[in-house]
Amino acid sequence: MSTPAPATARESSASLRGSRAGSAGDSIFSGLALASAVVILLVLAFVAIFLVSEALPAIRPGADLDSPVDSFFEYVWPLMAGTVMAAIIALLLATPVAVGVALFISHYAPPRIAKPVGFVIDLLAAIPSVVYGVWGWLTLAPLMVPIYGWLNEHLGFIPFFAGAPTTTGRTLLTSGIVLSVMVLPIITALCREIFTQTPILHQEAALGLGATRWEMIKMTVFPFARAGIVSSIMLGLGRALGETMAVTMVLSGGIFSWSLIQSGRNQTIPSEIALNFPEAFGMRLNELIAAGLMLFIITLAVNMIARAIVNKHKEFSGAN
């Protein structure tokens, strides 16, 4: 009777030692994690402080601006509008395709095809934005010219397609299309991961109740993945809002206009900064940095909205 006791004691002391060693690792790791979190917040804070302090001279009322406008807002709102419009076009075009591709890979395609398709999509993410820019400029833009002419002819009553259509294709719509190709892999990769996480039991239950494959996806995959799809779209939106190089190369910028098929119209904040920063000094520099601050604020607002949407749908997702 007495023999098992020491054994248990030994065992428990051994497991204690183990857990002590484990707790050392635990505290080191939690320290590291905390440090990483703090560093990220610090970097963000520094960026924000820099932006605000450099932007203030241009934003404060009565600032003697370098651009021929009365107030900073007058200068920046067309840029903000252009940025948001380009990003919205990109997402409108990219999201359906991305979700479709992700579903194809996760639920429709045989593994032999799904793998290479997934690989190609991932490859899209690795192409540098300059290459997209050159492609958009030299290949896509000329291809779009007749399409814009057609849109203008048949749908010209819609403000988006009004006005004299471009002769080079360097418009906000072309920029939006290039951006949509660039955000496609981001949204696809995330959606694919989430779709494959859908509990098999749910899916089999749906199929067992006589649902077709589409009904099964509608009933089990989408509700489960809704929050994830929104997050992936928001990540894509972040990319679309901040993309500089491709837009700079593809767009002939100008003043704000609802028309998406005219050249010399609309401009985005990152592209405006990239184009004018090299020669900027004094107040012009403050203006550009203030424009950067506005982009920062837009991105922040978008992320907060996304977070709110994700939280709202969390209870239906099945993830908990």
Binding site: P128, L138, A164, T167, G254, G264, P278, E279
Partner: protein, 384 residues
Amino acid sequence: MKALRFGRSAALLSVAALALTACSSADNGGNGGASSTAPAGSSSAAPAGSSSAAEGGATSDVQGNLVGAGASSQEAAMTAWTQGVSSVAPNLTVQYSPDGSGAGREKFLQGATSFAGSDAAMDEEEAEQAKQVCGDQGAFHVPAYISPIAVAYNLPGVEENIKMDAETIARVFTGEITTWNDEAIASQNEGVELPDTPITVVHRSDDSGTTENFTAYLTEAAGDAWSYDEVETWPADITAESAQGTTGVVGLVSSNEGAITYADASAVDGLGTVDVKVGEEYVAYSAEAAAATVEKSEANEDGSIELDRATTEAGVYPVVLVSYHIYCNQYKDQETVDQVKAFAEYAISEDGQSTAEGAAGNAPISAATRDAAMERIEAISAQG
């Protein structure tokens, strides 16, 4: 497994390399200056035996490090000069960062650099500030970089240079004239078969000294047809195509029939160029005609040029970009004086100008302009 891992990291690396290249190519516009600091390596930009061509013949023993900043328009020429100066002063290193004209003048006026490159002359306020850095005699300008701006177009069917006066050019660029066979153009080009192709105007999307000088020409020479004044950024009210940088606009024009733009003349190979009406004649751009504009224009007391762009003088091409080097009349110590003199004299010497021409395609300054500038450079001295 190992092979797979290796493959993976190789893929990662190549992606990283691509991404980094992307970054660096994006940076070039702004900070390419770091690369132009190449020390006095005997580069191919300096022709052999060039030391004999330099003033005085022998190489000087000036040494040290001379720092300047300013106009990016001069970047290519400045790279040639910073390398070529070793042929006259082997131990002198010159650094130039192409931060833009405004930033260059600002740094110079703060005393952070010994000279500035600038597409525009200093205004009165800046000239006053210069006296604080340079002493009571202030600073002066040397028109070291002259570059003709070509009005270039893409019309495959037309062999001859199309002729236009300043007013027509202005009306084309404001979008008032929309087709190539418009009466305003046709009346100046009798015998030339002009197509009814629509005109696509292409301008620089970035702030640029080329835009500034081109609009300055339109402001002075085109009268009421151009109402947007002299601007560094193309007026947003005009709906037109745009692209970044000289290569951008030239590339866009090359790929679009009927397109027209203004660009540094050295970059418009393969495109048609407009002969500009001066007086009663139409003048094609050429290095000599551009340099003549500067020579025939009046020089201010501080060395800057009052370019007469509305000139009617024969053989002058008035659409030019003139970029200055700005130096102090007096520097704090003799060492800097020697460095500045060595560099300034080299840059405008025949050798320096032809070296720059080879690299940047600018128009070498005329002998008269050189003599006037040499005089001022000779007079640079150390303070008190």
